[in-house]
């Protein structure tokens, strides 16, 4: 177990900058998730920490020691790969013990560690099988077992659930969280799936274009995004981003979405947004903050009701997603299944503006 720090770490492939001067401090025992779209540099960052990629500039520190020039085997890390990377000619037990044998551990110690890891992961009965005799989920458990037996300073996961089907992915997600609760080791986990990031992480690092967009707890990122990218990336369905104009409304403010639709800005936010009066902005509102008007759902002093003609209605069981257009821009709301109208019908919806965000379209920063 150890803390990990990245200081101004840069990775370039010839003239292409894959990772652009990132700084990151990961305390001991933390479960940190690097999340972002394909090509954002998250896997490259992980591979640099692992020692599988050389860094172009900067410093990587593991457990207080600068490891820039150390080979992977001397960094005391363990990594779980997307495609499991199990040795196909070895049994599960041999796969798990391979690293320990290379490090000349005593046979008794190896057996004890393998048995313990197998017990944690519930794969004891698989120890004599070869990887080709295992299902995807079992292979992923073995790959985790191979990491656990080493008892390393840091666990690295590179999109470990991407090859699994949706149901198994949810199961394994819980499994990984359970294992981290048992084996409290600093963990860095890479994924492009924001649901995985939200459910697993103590802290999430959102990356985009080789840079860190925002670091924070899952709730922090969800409720207080700092950039347009984070606002749009975190959350499923994504946050609605509707072009609007900030106007004065007597002593207060309002956001005008179209000629016949505007929302009042809550009083407690007026001072914050005053600098943007008269400017074009993006109104950010999550689907769960556009609800039916019936009942107390979303009702507060800062909610605003408006009629909308529904384009598409998607029943999801416990909720129904309704899609409608505001000045040509598609907007999504989330309503009670029994309250939803049919497509083509007009429905009265309520926007909960206590959760609104205004984004400057020029800087893409949340105001």
């Amino acid at each position: 177990m150890a803390e990990v720090a990245l200081r101004n770490v840069v990775k370039k492939y010839d003239d292409v900058v894959a990772v652009s001067s990132i700084n990151l401090d990961i305390p001991n025992n933390e479960f940190l998730v690097l999340v972002g779209p394909s090509g954002c540099g998250k896997s490259t960052t992980l591979r640099m920490i692992a020692g599988l990629e050389e860094i172009t500039a900067g410093e990587i520190v593991i457990g207080g020691e600068v490891v820039n020039d150390l080979p992977p085997k001397d960094r005391d890390i363990a990594m779980v790969f997307q495609n499991y990377a199990l040795y196909p000619h070895m049994t599960v037990a041999e796969n798990m013990s391979f690293g320990l044998k290379l490090r000349k551990f005593a046979k008794d110690e190896i057996k004890a560690r393998v048995d313990n890891a197998a017990k944690i992961l519930d794969i004891t009965e698989l120890l004599t099988r070869r990887p080709k005799q295992l299902s995807g989920g079992q292979r992923q458990r073995v790959a985790m077992g191979r990491a656990i037996v080493r008892n390393p300073k840091v666990f690295l996961f590179d999109e470990p659930l991407s090859n699994l089907d949706a149901k198994l992915r949810v199961q394994m997600r819980t499994e990984i969280k359970r294992v981290h609760q048992k084996v409290k080791t600093t963990t860095i986990y890479v994924t492009h799936d924001q649901v995985e990031a939200m459910t697993l992480a103590d802290r999430i690092v959102v990356m985009n274009g080789g840079k860190i967009e925002q670091i924070g707890s899952p709730n922090d990122l969800y409720h207080h995004p700092k950039t347009r990218f984070v606002a749009g990336f975190i959350g499923s369905p994504a946050m609605n981003l509707i072009p609007a104009k900030l106007e004065t409304n007597g002593s207060s403010l309002k956001v005008r979405l179209s000629d016949n639709l505007s929302f009042p800005v809550p009083e407690n936010r007026a001072a914050r947004y005053r600098g943007a009066i008269g400017k074009d902005v993006l109104l950010g509102l999550r689907p769960e903050h556009i609800t039916e008007t019936r009942g107390a759902n979303g009702a507060s002093g800062n909610s605003h009701e408006f009629p909308a003609t529904l384009d598409v209605v998607e029943p999801m069981g416990m909720e129904t997603m309704v899609f409608f257009k505001v000045d040509g821009v598609e907007v999504c709301g989330r309503v009670e299944p029994t309250a939803a109208k049919g497509s083509g019908e007009t429905m009265l919806l309520r926007a909960n503006l206590d959760h609104m965000h205004l984004i400057d379209p020029n800087t893409n920063r949340v105001l």
Binding site: K73, M79, A85, Y87, H89, L102
Partner: protein
């Protein structure tokens, strides 16, 4: 719509085209016809070899008999003569020594070369890999001229150890090429996992890559064995005394004297000489095919 109308378009096209089932039947018939013709064509020489080896000299020389059948009964006389009255066993021993040495040398060089060219990316590795394959395209009927000078300068003319030196020029390039394809088809995460587990390059090669690439290695081994066992041009050029000669050239030169062909012994010799490659192929055919296929379809 009734079941009959629903199935009509499936069995016969609207323009009266033949059904898929009928097309497949004709394709199968054509396949079998050609396969049988080719099987007969390729099996006739070995068949002739076997029945001639089992005939007496008198029957072979008897022009009135049908040459495709054994008319006067099976005899092992030709094998007895071959083993007792010719240098066949010396040729066999020399060939075995040369082949085993060539296979060992080839595999040592090829596996190491393929591992470095296929997995350890370095400047010029792609050009080097192509260059190695290009050397395979130079035929031995051209190479033997410069090789003659080299073998002579090393004092290895008329020594089967000279063959151990020159045969790898035929086997190493192709075996390296096969192995490069095979090593490249192994996911890169496997060596990364091994690196993180603490393996060095040699441990990675011996503990991970060689076991995983075993089908490819067996394919390369069979190839180098076959080439060494059946080589003709080099021994014909570099060896001229019976005690150093190998099977391919020795059998022909010792059993054909001027215009006298000892057909029975020649065929018995050919049969015995063909046995080791046949046995090896029979046992390792699955590995051989898997190895070649994996090398061909990288990824």
């Amino acid at each position: 719509m009734t079941a009959a109308t629903a199935t009509t378009p499936l069995t016969r096209g609207v323009f009266g085209r033949a059904s898929l089932k009928r097309n497949r039947r004709w394709a199968l018939i054509a396949s079998y016809v050609f396969l049988i013709v080719f099987a007969i064509f390729f099996l006739l020489p070995p068949y002739y070899m076997i029945i001639t080896a089992l005939k007496s000299d008198a029957e072979v020389a008897h022009m009135a008999h049908n040459p495709w059948i054994i008319a006067e009964g099976i005899t092992f006389e030709q094998f007895k003569l071959l083993f007792t009255q010719s240098d066949f066993l010396i040729f066999f021993k020399n060939t075995a020594i040369v082949t085993v040495c060539t296979v060992v040398i080839t595999m040592c060089i090829s596996v190491l070369a393929a591992f470095s060219l296929g997995r350890m990316k370095f400047w010029g590795s792609g050009i080097l890999a192509t260059g190695i394959f290009l050397t395979y395209l130079v035929p031995d009927t051209l190479l033997f001229i410069p090789l003659f000078q080299i073998v002579k300068s090393l004092g290895l003319l008329n020594s089967y150890w000279g063959m151990v030196l020159v045969y790898p020029t035929l086997t190493v390039p192709f075996c390296t090429w096969i192995m490069i394809g095979y090593f490249q088809s192994i996911p890169k995460e496997l060596d990364e996992a091994a690196l993180i587990d603490g393996a060095g390059q040699m441990q990675m090669l011996f503990k991970i890559f060689i076991p995983v690439a075993l089908p490819g290695i067996i394919a390369a081994t069979i190839f180098s064995f076959t080439v060494s066992w059946a080589a003709f041009v080099y021994p014909m050029t570099f060896l001229y005394s019976a005690d150093q000669q190998v099977l391919t050239v020795g059998t022909v030169t010792s059993l054909i004297k001027a215009d006298v062909y000892k057909w029975g012994m020649l065929m018995a010799g050919a049969l015995v000489a063909a046995a080791p490659p046949l046995i090896i192929y029979a046992f390792l055919m699955d590995y051989y095919i898997a190895g070649l296929t994996a090398g061909a379809t990288k990824g």
